[in-house]
């Protein structure tokens, strides 16, 4: 199978699996390489993740405001009627799971891909991201029961020489103290405080 077909299948399977497993929702594919109706809306909650390795690019999801509120309401088991931080965060986490599932499917083929962290986006940026250039674009529109619609947009280039090789993930870490040093320091500090406490308690 061509890499492009593998990527297509990986995304579609991952969208279905993520929504089914997390929320018992069965998404229906409305349009393949759609017109981008969901991102044509004025109010859009979008999130994007960088991809690196055998394929390089960006994976985004885009919900209209109402769909975003409805899906995050379902995630949290409570009614959310207005856009708040949880809505952006929840949409980002859905994307994170879709990207993770795609990565897992592709790992079974010969395409190694690393995923970054979800970054909040908007209509203008997503439109900019899916503009025509030499990259391969996938823009699929889905609808779930409970009136939840969204688009999944992938734009990528094949990195033939790196296909199959596992690269280090994009670094997100800024360090001053190593994790181990930090833990040791905090535990030592607590120990000292406890000892001081005990000394003070002595008559």
């Amino acid at each position: 199978m061509e890499i492009q077909d593998q990527v297509y299948n990986a995304i579609r399977d991952s969208v279905a699996n993520t929504l089914e497993t997390t929320l018992s929702l069965s998404p229906e594919l409305l349009q393949q390489d759609g017109s981008g109706a969901a991102i044509a809306q004025d109010d859009v909650i979008a999130s994007c993740i960088d991809l690196e390795g055998g394929i390089n690019g960006k994976l985004c999801v885009s919900f209209d405001n109402n769909s975003a509120c409805r899906i995050v309401s379902k995630m949290l088991g409570m009614d959310i009627e207005e856009i708040n931080n949880d809505v952006y965060d929840g949409v980002g986490e859905i994307l994170n799971m879709i990207a993770g599932g795609m990565k897992m499917s592709l790992a079974k083929t010969d395409v190694g891909v690393n995923i970054g962290l979800p970054v909040k986006s908007d209509r203008a940026s997503v439109r900019e991201d899916i503009k025509q250039d030499e990259s391969i674009s996938i823009n699929e529109e889905f609808r779930c029961p409970e009136d939840i619609s969204f688009s999944v947009i992938l734009k990528y280039k094949l990195d033939q020489k790196d296909a199959g090789q596992k690269k280090e993930p994009p670094s997100t870490t800024t360090k001053t103290l190593s994790p181990l040093d930090k833990l040791n320091m905090l535990l030592a500090k607590q120990n000292t405080e406890k000892k001081e406490d005990n000394t003070n308690k002595q008559p």
Binding site: T18, T21, L76, G77, D86, G100, P179, L180, L187
Partner: protein, 129 residues
């Protein structure tokens, strides 16, 4: 009853995990951290009565892998059971996590059902009493 520390950069995911834990009937107090660095601070202050850490991998500032690698090296906290809950579900990543923390008590790939989380944490929390 001992505490459960939930580490994930998504606040929504942390809330979903905590809801599953509570619905499964565990009344343990829950603590939350949005990255490995915050998790270290919280664990250092609560290590004596923490029964379980549920930990994401991909987070800003300090990843879950760096966090579990650090705690594996410090005897005071090395025995606390850690379950990874992450989108990094490929075999090489699971092996990498086990190498970083040989005491890893479980590995859950996202997306997961409530039943999978419940089945993984139940024996750990029952053993902790």
């Amino acid at each position: 009853m001992k505490k459960i520390l939930v580490v994930d950069d998504s606040g929504v995911q942390r809330k979903m995990i905590i809801q599953i834990v509570q619905k499964a009937g565990f009344a343990n107090e829950t603590l939350e951290a949005e990255d490995g660095s915050k998790a270290i601070e919280i664990l250092a202050a609560n290590f004596e009565d923490t029964a379980l850490v549920l930990c994401d991998w991909n987070m800003p500032n300090m990843s879950g892998l760096e966090f579990i690698e650090a705690i594996a090296q410090v005897p005071a906290v090395a025995g606390i059971p850690v379950v990874m809950v992450t989108t990094e579900g490929t075999e090489d990543k699971i092996a990498e996590a086990k190498a970083a923390n040989p005491n890893l008590a479980g590995y859950i790939a996202k997306p997961f059902t409530p039943d999978v989380l419940k089945a993984t944490i139940t024996p750990i929390l029952e053993a902790a009493g």
